[in-house]
Each structure stands twice: as C-alpha cells, then as structure tokens.
C-alpha cells in the first residue's frame, strides 16, 4: 500500500470521463511502460467514492482484513482530517499483490485518473522487482492470506469460549510489538540447529598449522542450552514458539500479526525509493503521452503538488524523485567533473535505474546516491532538541553534509524503530525474558517503553526485563506482576 494525497477541496463529481476513457488511457500508458521496459503484475483498478477510500485507507488498502478497534480509530482520524479539509484523500493507493489492486476516486478529474494510473504502475513494477518485496512477501498469496486471517480472527471473536475481549487482549499486545522483527528478509534466518552448528564452528576456530608453537588457545565452550542461541529479533514469533502456555488461537493471532508486519516493514524500508520511483515514472509517462494543453497544464499543477518540498519535513516523493532523476542524469549526461571523478558511465541510464530499483532499499539508496550537491540543493539540515526548541544543528555544507546525511539515514525506513533482541528466555533460571535494546545514541521513550514492556509481559506470561541505556547509564527496565521498575546497572 502506498498513498499520497492532494488537498482537493470538495470537488464536485467530475463526469467528463467514462470508464471507456480510462480503459483507453490505460492501454496507452501500458504501451509506454512496455517501451521503457518496466515489468509489472497484472493490474486491477477499482473505482470508489470517498467513504470507500477512507475505509480502504483505514485497513491499509486491504480488501479484507481482520477486525480490531485500532482500525476504527484510524478511520475516525482520517475522516476527521478529511472533513476538516486538513488532508485531501490520497489519489492513489495500491497494494502489493498479484494482481496488484489500486483504487481510483470516482470524483477525480480525468487527468488525475491518468496520473494515478501511471503512478500505480510505477509502484506495481517496484513491488514486483525490488528485493525487499520479493524476499519478504509472496504477492500472489497476499489477498488470500489476509482473507483467511480475517475469517479466522472473526471466528475467534465469535467463539463463545474466546470472545472479543480475549482476542483484543492478545491483538493489543501483539500490535505493540509487531515491528520488533527482522528488517531484512533477504538474510536467511537460521534454524536453532543451524545456530548451534554455527556456535560450535566459531568456538573451534580454523585449523592452525602452527599450533605447536602458539600458546594454547582458550576455548570457550558455547552454551548450547541457552535459548535463543543467537539473539532473536522476532519477538512475536519467538514468544509463539517458546511460550508453552499459549493456546493455539493465541499462537495463530501472533502469527497473523507478525506476518502482516513483514508486509509493512518492506513498505517502510523502501518508502522513499518507492514513492520516488512511482513519481519518476508517472512524470516520464505523462510527458511522453503527448497530452493536449489543458490536460498537460493540470498535470504540471498536480505533479508539483505531490512532489513539492515541504520545509521542515522530508517529503519522500520529492526526495526520492530527486535522487532517481539524478541517477539517470549521471548515467546519461554526466558533467565533465563527474566523468573525471567517476570515469565514463558503464551503463545506460535506464539500465542503472533498473539495477538500483532491484537491489537497494532506502538506507543504502540514500547512502549511495544522495550526493553532496543534491543535499545542498535541497537544503537538508540536521536538527536537535535544545531545551524546548528544535534547533538546526548542522547544514549541508562542506563541514557538515556527511553527518547530516548520517542523521537522515538514521531516520529513514525502519531505522526509526529501536532494535530489540531477545538475549535469553530463561534469565535467572526462572523463565524471565531478557531483552536487550541495541542502543545507537537515542534513548527510548520511557512511558512508551513501560507500556510496551507490559504488553510483552502479557504475551510472555512471566517477568520481562529490558536492558537499555538511559541518559548515558546502562539501565534495566523490569515489568512483572508487581509493576514496572527501572534500575541502573553498574
């Protein structure tokens, strides 16, 4: 799912187009796409009105989804924003499935429909080709999986021995922890047995031909009884597999939530690339369609609404588009200076684009292709909190641009989610769950940590402790039946 919005006023229903028009334009768009060499899943467009759109948005575009009050909450919130004209409705929303499904607002003008369709094909191509998606999700199963999960959850809710209260208790807790999972699904997760083998392997070390004259190596016996052998990031799945007191339906709920999180982690990981890519292609396609003047002018206006820089924020549409365009330029029309520095381009612009689209995600994409010049042009700065205020601390100049870039990368995709790993599921030999926060200079929000830890305890069923750093001190947050406590560690 991905969505962008234009602040449209209360548009009257635009009836200057018919379904046949859309079909015709779709054919022209696809002809262009094939010409450029994009590859995509079959596409379905569904026309809906604004209430339908709000409904889809609340459920992240999924045609079927399990029930939970939080979706009611996001619906209300979206509706409030929409009613007060704070945000327009997204004029494109597409989900990563095969066939890909996208929604078109029936009140939009013809040009907006054309723009949306072109944009959607960009996303569609990205879903089908980027490694993040191909390794994490199986698009042909998306819809079916959601549907089946929704049906199962409804069954648990209706089951008199379970009921909505119990289902909610588990879902509330699972939702709080759902992003505490692996971020890169291309890296294979080892089974416990494989982890044991690897642990033995590492302690034995490599054969040493000069062992006789070397001091005897101290061999540390690996603790093969420890669970997990290697720190585990998949909180929900770990609990599912290691809490013997969970009922089958509870395990199922954890599986459903963890599975859905995977889908969203992929989207988060590639937000800037993905929106940039779709914007890049809608622009190229619409520019090559030979639009008549009226449509073309409207296209310019709409396009700029979407990809304009928003001071004080990072607009992924803008940033992504800028970087993609720059990559293309550097491989088709590099400056003399760039040729001197990097040598002549070895690939065509399109080849390079397709390669990058397949193998990068936001953090690597920015690290490699967001140049100093671009940052300067976009005036990207770093800010930090000083007392009550947020103050610009570094700007993209010779001295600071690298650090600004680091800070930016630290905040894209899942990098804005703290990394937590389960270190020991039997801490102190009484089944206390020991979790460690891999601190990178940013402290946890304590109130949120307290509540989330309580949820973790709820699912684990025993005491949970979290090791973290608070204001420079190693600390241990504890949540058990007696409540929440914070201790400093030496």
């Amino acid at each position: 799912m991905s969505a962008s919005s234009v602040s449209a006023g209360a548009n009257a229903r635009d009836t200057t187009w018919s379904l046949d028009d859309l079909v015709r334009w779709d054919e022209r768009i696809r002809a262009k796409i094939d010409e450029f060499g994009l590859s995509y899943y079959p596409q379905e467009f569904e026309l809906c009105d604004h209430t339908g759109m709000l409904g889809y948005m609340a459920y992240n575009g999924m045609p079927s989804h399990y029930p939970h009050w939080s979706y009611g909450k996001s619906y209300e919130k979206l509706k409030t924003l929409y009613d007060h004209g704070v945000s327009g409705l997204p004029y494109e929303m597409v989900i990563n499935s095969n066939p890909a499904i996208a929604y078109l607002m029936r009140d939009n003008s013809l040009l907006l429909q054309i723009l949306t369709m072109a944009h959607v094909y960009g996303h569609n191509d990205f879903f089908r080709n980027n490694f993040t998606f191909t390794s994490a999700t199986r698009a042909e199963l998306t819809i079916e999986n959601y549907k089946a999960a929704a049906m199962r959850v409804r069954r648990y809710v209706e089951d008199p021995s379970i009921g909505i209260e119990k289902v909610e208790r588990v879902l509330d807790a699972a939702h709080a922890l759902n992003w505490q999972c692996r971020r890169n699904f291309a890296i294979k997760k080892l089974t416990p047995q494989e982890q044991i083998d690897r642990a033995i392997q590492t302690t034995q070390g490599h054969p040493d031909p000069f062992q006789k004259i070397h001091a005897r190596r101290v061999v540390e016996e690996p603790d093969l009884h420890k669970v997990p052998i290697e720190p585990d990031e998949d909180l929900l799945l770990f609990i599912r597999d290691h809490n013997p007191f969970l009922a089958d339906w509870e395990k199922d709920l954890l599986t459903i939530v963890a599975h859905e999180a995977k889908y969203f982690i992929s989207l988060m990981e590639t937000k800037i690339m993905n929106e940039g890519w779709a914007s890049y292609w809608h622009k190229r396609i619409l520019e090559s369609l030979g639009l008549e003047q009226g449509l073309y002018l409207e296209f310019i206006v709409r396009h700029n609404q979407v990809v304009r820089p928003i001071p004080g924020q990072i607009n992924p549409y803008h940033l992504g588009l800028k970087v993609w365009e720059d990559i293309y330029r550097r491989y088709t029309n590099p400056t003399a200076e760039e040729i001197k520095r990097d040598g002549p381009p070895a690939k065509s612009g399109l080849e390079k684009l397709f390669e990058v689209r397949e193998v990068e995600r936001d953090s690597s994409f920015l690290r490699r292709f967001l140049t100093e010049d671009l940052m300067r042009e976009m005036d990207i700065f770093e800010y930090e909190a000083r007392g009550e205020e947020l103050v610009v601390s570094k700007v993209a100049d010779d001295a600071g641009w690298r650090e600004v870039k680091e800070t930016l990368i630290k905040n894209v995709g899942t990098n804005s989610i703290p990394v937590l790993k389960i270190e020991d599921a039997d801490f102190g030999q009484n089944r206390t769950l020991y979790v460690k926060h891999y601190h990178d200079g940013r402290d946890l929000h304590l109130e949120y940590a307290e509540k989330s830890l309580a949820y973790l305890q709820r699912l684990w069923g025993r005491e949970v402790v979290l090791e973290t750093v608070l204001e420079g001190k190693r600390s241990l947050l504890c949540s058990n039946d007696r409540g929440f406590s914070v201790r400093s560690l030496k």
Partner: protein, 450 residues
C-alpha cells in the same frame, strides 16, 4: 506482457454493502467512552460546565487508547528539508510536537500517538452522572432543562381565552340546554335549532371588535343567511326573559355554554432563582476536590434550572477576603493564606442586597470548603450563615475532605451544627459516591417560597 487490466466499475450497492469499519469504529467509540470515564474527574476538574450550552464541543485528550510501541523519545533529533537557506542555530520547531504520527502507516516514523476527541458537553455530563452513580430516572430529569413552555391538554373548562374556545363542545352544550328547555318551544323550533347548531359547529370565530367572549361572534362562514346565531349582547344576560320571549325561533348561546380547552403549562415556576456558589480558594484545590465541588455545584445548578425560568449564577471565591469571580477563576485560583469564611458569606449577602432581592428571587446558596477557618472568625461566620439562611430558600455547607485527609484538619461541621434554621444543611463529602446522597439530602430541606 501482463494480461489485460481489469477495471471494476463503482457500484453504489457495493459501497453501501460493506462498511466493514462499522464494527471497529463502534468498538473504538466504546473504548473512547471508557477512557473518558476513567479520566472524568480530571476532565471535569478542568472544564467549565456549569450553565453552559450542552451542545458545546469539548476537546478531551485520550490517554486510554494510545497505541504504545517501542519508540525513541521526543528529543532524538532528526533531519529534514529547509526552505533554501537554513543556518545552524535556527529554531525550526518545538520538542514533543511531533505531529500525531500514526505509526502503522507504512513509512511514517512512529510518531507520538497523541490523540484527542471531541465530546459534546451533554455526553460528558452523562458520563459524569454515570461516574457519580446517579439513578437513571433522576439523570434524565436533570439533563433536560426545559427551555420553552411545554403544554399539555388537560380537559375542558368554562373559562379561558378566546383562542382556546372549543366550538364543537360549545355548540353541543347549547343543544343540550335547548333540549332541556324544550317545554317552552315547539318541535319546529327545535328542529331548526338543531340544524343551526350543526352549522355552528363549522363556524369560525370572527370578530375583532368585540372583546366579549360571546357566541354572538359565531357566524356561519359559507352561508349568507345571517344571524340565526347572531344575537344582541343582552341576550347574554343569563336567564333574561326578554331573550326567550323576543326570539321565538332563536336559541342563542349562553355564557354557560362556552367550553374552553384547558391547557396545562409546565410546572416551572414563573420566577427567578439565583444560585450562589461560595468556595474557599485558600487551600490547594487538587483534582479530586475540584471534581467533587464542581460536580456538586453543577448538580445544584441543573436542578434549580429545571424549576425556575430564569436562573442566574454567582461564584464567590474567598480566602481572607471574598471576590466575585467567573467559573474559570472559581476553580483555578489557588490562594495561599488563611481563611475567613465569614468574608464569603458577607460577600454573598452584599450581592443579594444589590441584585437579588429575596422578594423577587429564590436564592440557593451553597458553600464548599475543606473545613479550614480561623477560630477567631467562627462567631462571625455563624452569624452571617444564619443571616444567609434566613433569606435563602436553601443554604448548605459542604465539607470536601477526600479520604485520608480529615484526621489532621479542622472541621466546621461542628461549628455549624449550632445553626437552627430548618433550611440549612451540612454535608460531608469524602468520595465521589457521596455526592448524590448528599445532594439529595440537601434538597430535601428546600423551602420553596410561598
């Protein structure tokens, strides 16, 4: 390469068929309500509710339905885009004002899930009533302040105003009277009279000139044929023989025939009431005290409003001196220093003397305090209290002592016990469950003026 694109046409039936969010929205709404209920004391302590429009929208922060996750604190800094010439040191925002980032939207950073909802005052009050455990029946009575006359038809009477004349019944009465006096008439006359009566039933009132409520005004609309009903005024001298003799074939209406619809206006006393809220603002008013005091004053005001047409409210805050304040100030002023309760009462007497003369106003005074008073002031307080009780319909003193605070503080309850006035009442409020019973006990002493 790919197959044909599929377009699904918009169908109204689809749109209306599946609002799957309905169930989740309902559930969310329930949670919101629960959350408000849990925090009702805080909310009421901070909101002005007394005598306010019940449709007013109040923004209530929701703490109960945040979706917690492990996130970084507000002060972790970040990077963003400027407008072209950002310089180090520029201020670009405030901490903790991260937009209400909805975490589960792909790509959004997990922002702070701060969330408030709009609630109407009415709903808030309803929740407050629940919290105070008010019985349902009384709840409704208190909520509905009748803003207009409501009227109910209650049978018929012989007196009334022109507009409520019931022509049909009036005509009937006349026929009955005629039948009763038939000895004096022959059958012809009777038959004719009956016919005329039928016509009269359809007649309309039409006489702007005469303000006599008389059947002489009854004319027949459609028929030109005058006057079988018209009669001179003297025909209404009851029992006038002249009438009977002069008009042989006419049988005019008599005042006794007239029947008026009787309409009962609501029982609101057509009168004025003033609610005088006195509170000691010297001590620290914590949330619980504020909540207890405010809800008590609120109940009082609502109740008085259901009974009087015109209700005014006065807030008097006092420490060693008393001032008239707004509701806002009333609940938010914390003064330090001592307390002279008498100052509050004297201020009330002063205001009554200036604006609310007891002959025109029904006065209701209530004083909330934590029981502190300078001993030296007690005689004066007693005296003023008696004076206030003598001019008020009802005067009460409520001591608010949330549990656990009453052992080391003084109390005025013993002092005020000496007051003999039947319409003076003291209550002790220690917890919110006490509010309703104390309120009822207080009102039981109401002495509505004759």
């Amino acid at each position: 390469m790919a197959g044909d694109t599929i377009f699904r046409e918009y169908r109204v039936s689809d749109a209306e068929r599946s609002d799957r969010s309905a169930g989740d929205r309902l559930r969310h709404r329930q949670k919101v309500r629960e959350s408000i209920r849990e925090n009702i004391a805080d909310i009421i302590a901070e909101e002005s509710i007394i005598g306010k429009d019940k449709d007013r929208i109040i923004k209530v922060p929701l703490r109960g339905i945040k979706e917690y996750r492990f996130v970084y604190g507000d002060n972790s800094g970040g990077a963003s885009q400027g407008d072209g010439d950002s310089r180090p040191g520029q201020v670009v925002g405030k901490t903790g004002k991260e937009g209400p980032g909805k975490g589960d939207q792909a790509g959004d950073r997990p922002g702070v899930d701060y969330y408030e909802t709009d609630v109407t005052l009415e709903e808030l009050i309803e929740i407050m009533f629940e919290d105070l455990e008010l019985p349902n029946l009384e709840r409704r009575a208190l909520r509905e302040i009748l803003s207009e006359f409501s009227s109910q038809r209650k049978g018929y009477r012989k007196v009334g105003i022109r507009i409520r004349l019931d022509k049909r019944r009036t005509a009937k009465r006349r026929v009955m009277r005629m039948l009763a006096s038939e000895k004096r008439h022959d059958a012809d006359a009777r038959a004719e009279a009956i016919a005329a009566t039928k016509a009269a039933a359809d007649a309309s009132l039409d006489d702007p000139n005469s303000d006599l409520e008389a059947a002489a005004d009854l004319t027949i609309d459609d028929a030109e044929s005058d006057g079988s009903l018209a009669a001179e005024e003297e025909s209404f001298a009851p029992g006038s023989i002249a009438t009977l003799q002069r008009v042989k074939r006419r049988f005019p209406f008599h005042t006794d025939d007239l029947r008026y619809k009787h309409v009962e206006v609501d029982t609101k006393e057509e009168s004025n009431a003033a609610v005088i809220c006195i509170m000691d603002t010297s001590g620290s008013m914590d949330t619980m005290k504020k909540y207890l005091a405010r809800s008590f004053f609120f109940l009082l005001y609502q109740f008085i409003s259901t009974r009087y047409r015109n209700v005014e409210i006065v807030f008097i805050g006092h420490h060693t001196e008393a001032t008239e304040v707004t509701e806002e100030e009333f609940f938010h002023k914390g003064e330090s220093g001592g307390t002279f309760i008498s100052s509050g009462y004297n201020k009330a007497l002063e205001i009554v003397a200036a604006r609310y003369h007891p002959s025109l106003w029904n006065l209701y005074a209530f004083h909330c305090s934590d029981g502190d008073n300078f001993d030296s002031d007690n005689p004066a307080a007693l005296k003023s209290a008696e004076e206030l009780a003598s001019i008020c319909n009802l005067f009460g003193y409520g001591e608010i002592k949330p549990l656990g605070s009453r052992y080391y503080e003084s109390s005025m309850l013993n002092v005020f016990r000496r007051i003999q006035a039947p319409n003076f009442h003291t209550v002790l409020i220690e917890r919110k469950e006490d509010i309703w019973p104390s309120f009822k006990a207080f009102l039981a002493k109401d002495r509505v003026k004759e």
